[in-house]
Symmetry: C2
Subunit: 408 residues, 2 copies
């Protein structure tokens, strides 16, 4: 494909109008929105309003008058359509790790005779560490890691002791997309609960937690959702589990009557019982501004463009002789492309110096995320050309590129 | 004391210069800084910088270049002098409730033969709910509430099964200040660990966790510290406990090598092992701006003025015939004054309509917080006059004041 053909595709791109809703620096092609999404143009004003008007001028009155109390629910209802959830199945609070802790503990309690939690050994490690932390609290419980996530491995491990399975919908390294419906069904057939981590799929493609019958899920909002650095996470609890689900981070925000100041804990009805403390209002404000954009985005168009962009990038870099670690089948691909290179770290650094921002994951993966709301086909074409030039020139061998830093 | 005498005190107030470092609305006397502190004048610019420059322009690079990774430690080191802690004993992360969960779990593990957690039945309930949540995870453990926090009651309950005692340094309702040194000593003599909740004392008076030999502590930053609504909390772990302390919210940010992406959890050395996830950068930015102010404040002067302001308010409202629920002895008083009134709720609402913002806690407490950095003696005098006028006029009986809202 030529650059002109890319320009022609951009000219008819139904999502092209979203580009102006983001503030991106000049001279940068940003292929790391799978790690930290770009700044929506409306976010600074919304954050300023919360800081200067709601906090600075209205002060404590904003808890009622600006709806601060309701914010975790309101944001949850706005995220729900992005993950195929019902409006009363999602709440925004805390972080992905903290929320996974709550859900896993609840899952072990919902399956009292069972004591094993299955995870993916290649998952983003915080999920594994949290599973370790949770199982360490239950007598005889253990966290077991699958060597790979296949139907066969799952079958081998899905014994009668498995209480829950935690899997990432999209692999953070390779970008592999799992079959949510089939795996959920397989796990539930074995009597276990299925917990999805949708950090790398929410906002990248239509996630269908409800249609797939998922039990529980967590996700973050600072990647494809563009909520900002360290923005609050969300959790999903299928309505059928809400009445029986209990979690031990039982702070006052999850209480049935938080302002009665009763000495004993009584969880509120619904997903709100998974809240713990008062929300981070600045983080929630930024998330609200980014959801204003998402409200107008058609997820099917997002998915179609995501596949077009990753297809384009793969076709352009394949001639460079790099191994593509990302599945080529559309049904198994998220919205990123991972390329193997033994010197991936300095190559990525050299690319960044040229204004193409991707990232690196040890031992040899260069990761490039494709965010359909603010990336054009032409930018993808330019990024591939820059990568080709970095490799051809050998400029990545310059000593300044090998000093290690690290980004999430 | 006359209003003129108050003006004279303001003229020689060594902290008077701090008033201009806060943005407060015209026509408001803000006596609720014990619930949500006022907006520091430097905060909007700092938040804007993080949103527009660090996030918007530098994007993912800010994790390294803007020091985002180090932020939880850096803020912890800046809070340390405010609570009498060493620079490597504090970290800023999550919320008070989540942090208390971590510390209580660690405490039960540090005292393996013991299974009772003692709390104060009159504490802000989230601490009690969290104690319930934690003890529910340990076979045979229980959370016991003291009917009152006295030497005698503590002695009666400090049996050999007590692993930890959790107490608020200052009572959120009455403003009573506990004797941190004496209680810590009494608790430790019984072999238990002492966990202080300093939410209502940090920034209100010099807190001396180290000198008092405290084991563990939590606190929030949105009250006297002015970190903003839902700003991140902190936790303190005395250096002597850090190597052995373990907590189950073992996310990747507490890992010894977070970027090695190892499948197994290994806690980092030091207080960092109590971190869980990547920090909320917007909330941390606002906190950083407020600590710029605190860095220049002399805590002894803060304490002296706090006592002068609460003395003044008490002396002015005593003639109104209201019961003062706050201790009159300086050594037992925090930085708020609580007054009992059977119709406290509408009285506070009527006061708010007059521009004097306090709050109400059931069943009958009107709370007024005194923040020495931005309150003058004259404002306290004016607030007391408004309260007198509300009570004398009976205007609080108007139906519009009795509709219930609720503020934290």
């Amino acid at each position: 494909m030529t650059r002109e053909e890319c320009e022609a595709l951009d000219a008819v791109d139904p999502l092209a109008g979203f580009r102006k809703e983001f503030t991106l620096p000049e001279g940068v092609i940003y292929l790391d929105g799978n790690s930290l999404g770009a700044l929506p143009a409306g976010t600074p004003a919304r954050v300023r309003e919360v800081v200067e008007a709601e906090w600075g001028r209205e002060l404590i009155r904003s808890w009622n008058d600006a709806g601060w109390f309701e914010q975790p629910y309101r944001l949850g209802r706005r995220i729900a359509p992005l993950i195929g959830a019902g409006p009363e199945e999602v709440v925004v609070c805390d972080t992905t790790s903290v929320n996974l802790f709550k859900l896993l503990t609840a899952a072990l309690r919902l399956r009292p005779g069972r004591r094993t939690v299955l995870g993916d050994g290649a998952a983003f490690p915080t999920d594994l560490y949290i599973a370790e932390g949770v199982t360490g609290l239950f007598e005889g419980a253990r966290s077991v890691l699958l060597p790979s996530v296949t139907t066969e491995e799952l079958e081998r491990h899905l014994g009668e002791d498995v209480a829950a399975v935690v899997l990432s919908h999209v692999d953070y390294r390779t970008g592999e997309l799992l079959d949510m419906a089939a795996i959920t069904e397989q796990v539930q057939r074995a009597g276990a609960l299925m917990i999805w981590d949708v950090c790398h799929s929410v906002g990248a493609l239509p996630v269908e937690l409800g249609a797939c019958g998922a039990d529980l899920a967590v996700g973050c909002t600072y990647k494809y959702l563009n909520g900002g650095p360290g923005s609050p996470a969300f959790l999903y609890v299928a309505e059928r589990h809400q009445a029986a689900a209990e979690q031990p981070l039982s702070g006052w925000f999850g209480h049935a009557r938080p302002f009665a100041f009763e000495p004993g804990y009584a969880p509120t009805a619904g997903v709100g019982r998974f809240m713990t403390s008062s929300p981070s209002l600045l983080g929630q404000a930024a998330l609200g501004a980014s959801l204003d954009v998402w409200e107008r985005a058609d997820l099917r168009a997002v998915r179609a463009k995501s596949l077009a962009l990753t297809d384009l990038f793969i076709s352009l870099v394949e001639p460079l002789g790099l191994e593509v670690a990302t599945p080529l089948e559309h049904a198994r691909r998220g919205s990123q492309v991972a390329l193997r290179h033994p010197d991936g770290y300095p190559v990525v650094q050299a690319l960044i110096e040229r204004g193409v921002i991707g990232d690196f994951r040890a031992p040899d993966l260069m990761r490039f995320g494709f965010t359909p709301l603010y990336l054009s086909h032409t930018e993808v074409w330019d990024a591939a050309r820059e990568l080709a030039q970095v490799l051809e020139s050998g400029e990545w061998r310059a000593p300044r590129f090998s000093r290690r830093g690290a980004v999430t």
